[in-house]
């Protein structure tokens, strides 16, 4: 059974019909990427899954359990953690406090220390800055913090919204390497990206979103070779 399944999900901002029937699924252990140009509805999809936006119709299930009408904090408690667009770290909390907030609802307190060491292993920079306030970090460090904070929730499904946005190319490489490393540790990932080339190079499967609809879907390798994807999202050639 798929970990995450969306079936004909429609979401609105007031009268703006932002998601027009999204159906997708993520299997356990996969990296699935959602690509598409600016304004396609990628963030809206993740926010709808998270419960920050209530879909008007359609259903969302996590390993068969209905999530559709649950508020965001309940969705988090069922194991979906997110590194959101714009990072949304807590600027006046220290790096350590930010990470603690990531583990806010966990009841297995004995494992939290171990997970802290794990994210410090993935992001050594954060360990050097544990006492620093989140708001004083550089953009790249904030991105690492947002991902690490989501990891601290010990997610069954990790949602990443444009983790490469606004970062220097070298840092983008690091971030993508980390995503692969996370996946190797057994974490299922739904990755939203505008950087389609990078995303398709690490993903198992992909969905191409256009103005609130799924335009194409399939194996990452196949999408990479698709003429339309090449022309529109990979800058042709």
């Amino acid at each position: 059974m798929a970990i995450l399944e969306l079936n004909d999900v429609h979401s609105y901002y007031g009268n703006i019909h932002a998601l027009k029937g999204i159906s997708l699924n993520v299997e356990k252990g996969e990296i699935v990427t959602l690509i598409g140009s600016n304004g396609a509805g990628k963030t809206t999809t993740l926010r709808t899954i998270q419960g920050l936006i209530r879909p008007r119709t359609g259903s969302i299930t996590l390993e068969g359990e209905e999530l559709t009408r649950l508020p965001a904090h309940e969705v988090n408690r069922r194991g979906i953690c997110q590194s959101p667009e714009g990072r949304l770290i807590f600027p006046r909390m220290t790096v350590l406090e930010n990470l603690e907030m990531g583990a806010f609802t966990r009841t297995d307190h004995s494992n939290i220390g171990q997970d802290l060491e794990r994210v410090f292993g993935l992001f050594p920079r954060l360990k050097e800055r544990v006492k620093q306030k989140g708001g004083t970090l550089s953009g790249g460090e904030q991105q690492m913090l947002a991902m690490a904070r989501a990891m601290m929730g010990n997610p069954r499904l990790l949602l990443l919204d444009e983790p490469s946005m606004g970062l220097a190319p070298l840092l983008v490489e690091t971030i993508f390497d980390t995503i692969v490393a996370l996946n190797k540790q057994g974490i299922t990932i739904l990755l939203v990206e505008q950087n389609a080339r990078m995303a398709l190079s690490i993903a198992n499967r992909g969905y191409v979103l256009q103005t609130g609809e799924i335009r194409l879907q399939g194996d990452a390798a196949r999408l990479r070779d698709d003429e339309e994807v090449q022309k529109t999202y990979l800058g042709g050639h």
Binding site: Q50, G51, L52, P71, A72, H73, N76, R77, C81, Q82, P84, L88, I89, F90, P91, R92, M93, E97, E100, M101, G102, F104, T105, K133, G134, G135, T136, Q142, R149, G153
Partner: protein
């Protein structure tokens, strides 16, 4: 902005300050700013300056506790809770009722209550006001949370009118004493709804310093001590407890907090509960310190406390403490050396000046908010 070199800018700024100072001296006359008289006053009884310091610190302590309610709520939902002053007023009424159960009439006809009753009275005052404030949020603000800010603000102003009228009508319960002795506890409300109600005498008015020319009474000590305890407890709670951290997280980013599994609605309700409880405590402090309560008192207290919160940096707990003390001192010195009638105007002037020239207040947001 036109290009000017730093020296010219500096000169212009000094000129501006001199001009404002001159205007203040000129226009300030009717508002009590009579420098000559003030100098004479200070010279004849210099100890009075220290006395005003004590009064200012005590009144400032009460302002701090109310200001914390403004700042907590603003910090978490960016709403100036205009009803907060009225919650404080109802807190003072609740305190009065709590005390009235233990109130006895003295031989000279005055009302008195034992000290332990006053301490016990903090509990119902804080409980009632905490629940009231959380109820206001549930009823009047929650459903408007995603509406334009103005809608919530107007809802808050409406709430403040309603509460003030409840305060006015509550006074009418005093008439029940004519019905029978079982309503004796309403005796403290007197027979006129709108009239100020006297708090029973709880604390000795003797000078703790004996014959020293500066008076420090039990009330001064109680008010300042209570404020300190409440402030330190709040600070500890917000910094160290799980719920306190959830409050801070929600204040800093509501969506992110929800993604962390924090029930944002609950945390906002908790914030109103705490702010209201503090207003209730301040109501008791005010009654014990000033001796009378009246249904209009929420306005003045609200104005001063809101100004205190803005002066310190709204949303900032330490700022509320600093601003509250400063406004308390300003009010005390204005009452003594300027003119009682104009004290609110001076406070309002501070509010306007801060909003114009330094809207983030003296301390601004808590440090580290560069994101």
């Amino acid at each position: 902005m036109t290009e000017t070199n730093p020296t010219t800018q500096r000169a212009l700024r000094i000129l501006l300050i001199v001009a404002i100072g001159y205007l203040a001296l000129l226009i300030g006359q009717p508002a009590g700013l009579d420098v000559g008289r003030i100098i004479t006053d200070v010279a004849t009884t210099p100890t009075n300056v220290l006395q005003q310091l004590v009064i200012g610190l005590a009144n400032g302590s009460i302002i701090v506790i109310i200001a914390l309610g403004y700042t907590l709520v603003y910090g978490i939902i960016e709403l100036v809770n205009f009803a907060h002053g009225e919650v404080f007023m109802l807190g003072a009424f609740t305190s009065l009722m709590a005390l009235s159960i233990f109130t006895t009439t003295t031989a000279t006809g005055g009302l008195t209550a034992p000290f332990w009753a006053a301490l016990l009275g903090f509990i119902p005052a804080m409980l009632v006001c905490g629940l009231l404030n959380a109820g206001i949020e549930r009823l009047a603000y929650r459903r408007l949370r995603n509406s334009p800010k103005l809608a919530v603000l107007i809802s808050a102003i409406g709430m403040s009118f309603i509460l003030q009228n409840i305060g006015l009508q509550f006074g009418a319960l005093g008439k029940l004493t004519q019905v029978g002795p079982e309503f004796q506890i309403f005796q403290v409300l007197g027979s006129n709804n709108a009239a100020p109600k006297s708090f029973p005498v709880v604390l000795s008015t003797a000078n703790l310093l004996g014959d020293f020319p500066i008076r420090i009474t039990q009330a001064d000590v109680l008010v300042m001590g209570t404020a300190l305890v409440l402030m330190l407890t709040l600070n500890w709670f917000v910094q160290n407890t799980r719920l306190g951290k959830a409050m801070r997280a929600t204040a800093q980013n509501r969506d992110a907090a929800a993604m962390m599994g924090i029930n944002v609605d609950q945390i906002i309700a908790l914030t109103f509960l705490i702010g209201g409880a503090l207003a209730g405590a301040a109501g008791m402090m005010f009654g014990l310190y000033n001796g009378t309560v009246v249904f209009t008192m929420g306005f003045t207290a609200g104005l001063r406390s809101f100004t205190a919160a803005v002066l310190g940096g709204i949303g900032n707990i330490r700022g509320a403490a600093l601003g509250g003390i400063l406004i308390g001192l300003l009010a005390a010195f204005s009452d003594q050396y300027l003119a009682v009638r104009w004290t609110n105007a001076w406070v309002f002037l501070i509010l306007v000046l801060v909003l114009l020239f330094r809207p983030t207040g003296l301390l601004g947001q808590e440090s580290g908010d560069k994101a």
